[in-house]
């Protein structure tokens, strides 16, 4: 990786700035190493490090806030809920795709009080707009392509569409998806092949294919049977490891494969 000459030195903050909040008791100093990229000045991304005081109970998102609010306001990243619900802040934390708002500092601290460095980089396989902010459009394009909405034919029921608890259970796991792209951007096939649907799109197709109230299973299975569909998956389980919602992504993909193989949902 390239390193910029001036900015790689940790910017020391301890008591050096008046606008910074007091360092709380029990805080440790950690080095936050960020992969930065500003399309207006940089031709390539480069690493920049900051020294940030952190409590073990802080989340990685707090470090990013600290950098943005007190050290460098130009740092760009996406976050909204800060509670693992909106799926905005997927990033590579120490090389692993996670939500910054769900990873605690105490789980990243080096053993026996050794200095801790936390590296943060944008998720892979999607175009970087700035710093940790990536263009999610290709990801959502694949999502839309699998028709992630209820498809029915015939007359609407007068009341609700009834479903048994067992039928609901069938696709329960895949309803939990928050479209964070942790899975798709951890998939080696997605990195290399521009048009593979990616695990997240398949998860969301699964959610409707196995819904007893939905009648569009055939259309979606047809779409996923194609050259860029489920058969591209190598069963490497990267996606399952990455999912912050604990969805068994690879299993869902296998279920779609099985439905295609035996022509049965």
């Amino acid at each position: 990786m390239s390193t910029s000459t001036t900015s790689d030195k940790p910017t020391s903050v301890w008591g050096s700035h008046e606008s910074q909040p007091p360092v709380p008791d029990g805080a440790v100093s950690v080095t936050v190493k960020l992969l930065r990229f500003n399309p207006e000045v940089d031709s390539e991304p480069h690493w920049q490090s900051f020294e940030v005081p952190a409590l073990p109970t802080d989340r990685v998102l707090n470090l990013l806030h600290y950098v943005k609010w007190y050290l460098d306001g130009t740092l760009t990243f996406r976050r909204s809920c800060a509670h693992g619900i909106c799926g905005s802040d997927a990033m590579q934390i120490n090389g692993i795709n996670r939500l910054a708002c769900k990873v605690l500092i105490k789980d990243l601290l080096a053993k026996k009080g050794k200095p801790t460095t936390i590296t943060l980089a944008p998720i892979k396989g999607l175009p970087v707009n700035k710093d940790l902010l990536v263009d999610m459009e290709p990801f959502f394009e694949a999502f839309r392509a699998v028709k992630p909405y209820l498809i029915t034919y015939g007359n609407e029921p007068t009341r609700e569409r009834i479903q048994s608890a067992a039928d609901r259970e069938r696709f329960d796991d895949t309803t939990k998806c928050i479209l964070c792209a942790c899975c798709t951007s951890s998939c080696p096939v997605y990195w290399n092949d521009g048009s593979y649907f990616g695990p997240a799109a398949i998860v969301n197709a699964h959610r409707f294919i196995f819904d007893s109230r939905d009648e569009g299973a055939e259309e979606r299975l047809d779409i996923l049977n194609d050259a860029e569909g489920v058969w591209r998956c190598r069963t490497t389980f990267n996606c399952t490891d990455a999912c912050p919602r604990g969805i068994e992504v690879t299993k869902a993909i296998q279920e779609v494969k099985r439905a295609l193989l035996f022509k049965r949902v």
């Binding site: 892979k124 970087v128 394009e141 392509a145 049977n225 194609d226 050259a227 591209r232």
Partner: protein, 138 residues
Amino acid sequence: MAELALDKPRAPRRPAARRSNFELYSWLFMRLSGMALVVLVLGHLFIMNILDGGVHRINWGFVAGRWASPFWQFWDLSMLWLAQLHGGNGLRTVIDDYARKDSTRFWLKMLLYVSMVLILALGTFVIFTFDPQMDMRD
């Protein structure tokens, strides 16, 4: 903007669906041929390298004797075809994954397909036309 390692531009538009079961069948073929190859190849290695005397007893006569039997002809033929198609299909996916340009992808695949056809043809030819009498001549 310079092209970055991290932002390989994604395909802007999805190619129209091909509506074929080719990928399904090739996926299935990989599983089935893989299972068959475990038996065929391990059996082959066992006979050739371990069973009475191993490699040291292999000579013209040994091969001629084996291929006199249709069973071993069939064994070797299925091993040839399954391994060639299994490996070729695997390489096809590797090329699909790693070739960055469509032209590179096309030429690599052509090279792959031509070499597959050549090896299959040559191997099949040898198995069926092998003449055990040939050793008498010198």
